[in-house]
Amino acid sequence: MIRLPHSSPLLFHGRVTSGRSAARARNAAGEEDPAPGNAKMLVRGIVLVLLLAVLWTVLLGWAAQAPLDTAFEPAQRLRHAGSDFQVVMGAGVENGRRLGINSVGADHMALQSLAMPEAIDAGAFPILRYRWQDFPRTLELSFVFRRADQPEDVHTIALPPAGAYPAYFDLADVPEWRGQIVEIGFAQFPTAQLVPANIAFRPFALVEAELWSPSWRGSLGALGTDWTAYRPWALMSVSALGPDAPWPHKPTPVIVLAIGLAASILLAAAVLARNRRWIGVAFCAALAGGWIALDVRWLGEFVDRHAMTRYLYAGKPWRERAAIEPDTSLLASAARVRELLARWPADAHVIVAASTVYDVLRLNYHLLPANVAPVGVLAAQGAATGAMQPALLVVYADPEWKFDAQQRTLRHVDDEYPADVLVDENELRIFQLRGAAR
């Protein structure tokens, strides 16, 4: 129980006691129960309910960015069954009105597209409604489209993955969704930096996709989808929850609840003429209720994220789990480097270079226990590496490192190192640096 021994000057001053307590006081004094008081309370109650309904409608409308001048239902809908789409990458088969996707194509990606019979005005159809069957959580979903003014460019936007129910997405949040649209489609690929590409795919089906004209139903649907859609773990998750999901977002339930509950209490206090003590208790109760509601929502999201972890790793011994890493090709490259290192002294210096920091650090991690260092070692030294010991340089998918076979030198930007090639296979090159740089 929360006790409020003192009221705060930061809160409203109580104006009058409530009708009910005033009536109680009069009864205690032997006065006749005034029916008009009850009637007044009833009126106040009705007014409050109406005001709260308006408040929450406006608040949800603001959060959903629902256009004020539209009806609840969309005036126009462009409906396309899954079978209307063509498979561009991967393999699929029509299953009645659905399009079943049975395998992925190059780079573990699948793509389905639909050339519009005639170009549509993007502004007239800002709501995308889509439904899938058995869409795997291991895949990321994207919406792709072409505009008439840039027919060569494919615009891509991440979508919340759809579960068992239709999902909505507000394309008005996408700046590129403008002009005349000539083609739409969906792409799927393994969730980046989370799921190994070789085990990400499971068959699924595109049931339908619709484009809606502006409507409250569509906007609220997009808000609901944003709040409830499955969000996989991401590297960003340890830094911020919300931005870790890759699609454009609406205001969160945190801010909507905070504003809504505070405004509701202040409205109720004003209409029912409650005092500061009541307001304080109401704020505490609302905060507790809101907190638990958000916590239950968070636990649901956590369960969803954890379900994917269980799908990937449950029931496997540690050594098998340790090999299930999202960067499959880096793991393979690390294994190849290790083969080479087996013929070298265990403490040989190994320097790792790649075009992205992520690749450098991951390869560095995978190569342990080799005496390994990121390429920053060399970058920090520049040309002044007089004391440098002979070392191996592992270059992963980085064409900026250029080898001159005649000069037997390796060049990167302005630095040049005497080197020999040991391995040159696809994305992986291994050089032996012969010592000081020139």
Partner: protein, 476 residues
């Protein structure tokens, strides 16, 4: 699970709890046990990590077999001493109250559900978050797989080293305490296993909740309110993520900082030296965990010093500190020669015009992280509501005022870091603003929870209109 792994868990728990019991007294109630074991595990893990340092380039297989036979008897001896020593006075044991309200059971159930989720996530998933494999757990993995505690050095030394006994990394200069805790458990497990290492983070979460509950109870918060506070702390989504995706140092800083503040509060309340020593122990651990721990130590030490000042000196400090602070900021922004060059030397060099232009975006991003994203539920609204409703309690309790001052200075540090330095880009990208905030969230929650204590008979109300500085003589 091996005997060595069991020993690796027993040693920090027994060692740390023995130190806590020695300093704060033998636990008698469930709340006191929660405090002793919660704070004890964290302290014990840090002490075990420190104990590894003198071993030098030791074989990892020898770490626990070498240290446990020393540390465990010490811990057991301390416990025997705690149990047998005569007590000078009987501490006031807070009443535990009657049966728990069903709603509180529901809150505990919610905590239990997430504990299972986090544990299962840790046990299943290989090391996932970026800094876990790129920074904090890179060294212990290298040590474990290499078989020795090799020294990490700068790039120059590594490139020139012909012995092969030196290693380097992008984060070679980061404090190694967390890495040593990890190698303590990994070496006892016998191989590098992310689950065996990640389990430390769920233990840390449990220890944080237990330690906070025990200390809040000891500080006079009613049991039900303390449980609500513990639920609030344990349910914060970003804290849950830092447990489930184990490997970051921020939760360690958060727990150690909260325990330091709580022990300091106990000292302010009881003036028993043991609590101050415990607060000092936790505080000095801060820079050993992460570099910004040094800043928290500095701010905490300054606030503790402020609390010990005479009223006259306090008034001078209160008047001078904002003037000096604002002066430094203005001199920094206007690039005055002496101040600017000094700040440049410590890495705060920046184009201040650009910083000022970015300031609104940085503040907006920070506010979004605190109030509008999913990181903190309604925590920051709850803190604001608490301050609005319980400001009289704040006026009545001098110890809470100094804790509030520490948190205010901490928030000012974070504000200055993000708004006045190039670190603002980490706020705009959301990559650091919430993680750094996380470090003071448990201490902030403790502060807010203690404001919900019912007034103690000894805490006389301050007359209306009295300024805080003038209320100093009521400080214990």
């Amino acid at each position: 699970m091996t005997f060595a792994y069991v020993l690796a868990w027993l040693t920090p728990v027994l060692l740390g709890s023995a130190v806590v019991a020695l300093l704060c007294g033998r636990p008698r109630t469930p709340a006191q046990w929660a405090h002793t074991l919660g704070c004890g595990f964290v302290l014990g893990a840090l002490l075990c990590a420190l104990a590894i340092a003198p071993l030098g380039r030791v074989a990892v297989a020898r770490i626990v077999p070498t240290l446990a036979p020393i540390l465990l008897p010490l811990a057991l001896g301390a416990w025997v001493w705690v149990w047998l020593r005569p007590r000078a006075s009987v501490a006031v044991v807070p009443a535990e109250g009657g049966r728990l309200h069903p709603l509180l059971w529901a809150l505990l159930a919610l905590l239990a559900v997430r504990a299972w989720l986090m544990m299962d996530e840790i046990l299943l998933r290989p090391m996932y978050p970026w800094d876990a494999w790129a920074a904090w757990l890179l060294k212990p993995k290298a040590w474990m797989l290499g078989g020795h505690i090799d020294r990490f050095v700068g790039f120059d030394a590594w490139l020139a080293d012909a012995s092969g006994a030196l290693r380097t990394a992008q984060t070679w200069s980061y404090p190694e305490t967390l890495g040593r805790i990890a190698i303590w458990f990994a070496s006892a497990w016998g191989e590098w296993n992310a689950a065996a290492v990640g389990a430390i983070w769920i233990a840390l979460w449990l220890a944080l909740l237990c330690g906070t509950y025990g200390q809040l109870r000891a500080l006079g918060l009613a049991r039900d309110r303390a449980l609500v506070a513990v639920y609030a702390l344990g349910s914060l989504p970003l804290i849950n993520v830092h447990v489930a995706l184990a490997g970051y140092a921020d939760l360690w800083i958060a727990a150690v900082l909260a325990f330091a503040c709580l022990a300091w509060m106990r000292w302010l309340q009881t003036r028993e030296a043991g609590h101050l020593i415990l607060a000092g122990l936790f505080a000095v651990m801060l820079p050993l965990i992460k570099l910004e721990g040094g800043i928290w130590l500095l701010i905490l030490a300054a606030t503790m010093l402020y609390e010990r000042m005479t009223p006259r000196v306090r008034r001078i400090a209160l008047a001078l500190a904002p003037v000096i602070g604002c002066g430094v900021v203005v001199a920094y922004l206007l690039r005055w020669p002496l101040v600017a060059s000094a700040l440049d030397r410590i890495g705060l060099s920046a184009d201040t015009d650009v910083l000022v232009q970015h300031a609104p975006a940085v503040v907006a991003a920070a506010a979004e992280g605190l109030f509008a994203q999913y990181n903190w539920h309604l925590f920051w609204f709850a803190v604001a509501l608490t301050l609005a409703m319980r400001w009289r309690q704040l006026l009545r309790a001098p110890m809470l005022r100094v804790l509030g001052l520490f948190l205010l200075l901490g928030c000012a540090f974070l504000f200055a870091l993000f708004v006045l330095t190039p670190a603002g880009k980490w706020a705009e990208s959301y990559t650091a603003v919430n993680r750094l905030t996380l470090q003071i969230v448990p201490a902030m929650l403790v502060f807010a929870a203690l404001l919900w204590r019912e007034p103690r008979p000894t805490e006389a109300p301050v007359p209306p209109g009295a300024r805080m500085a003038e209320a100093v003589p009521t400080a214990p």
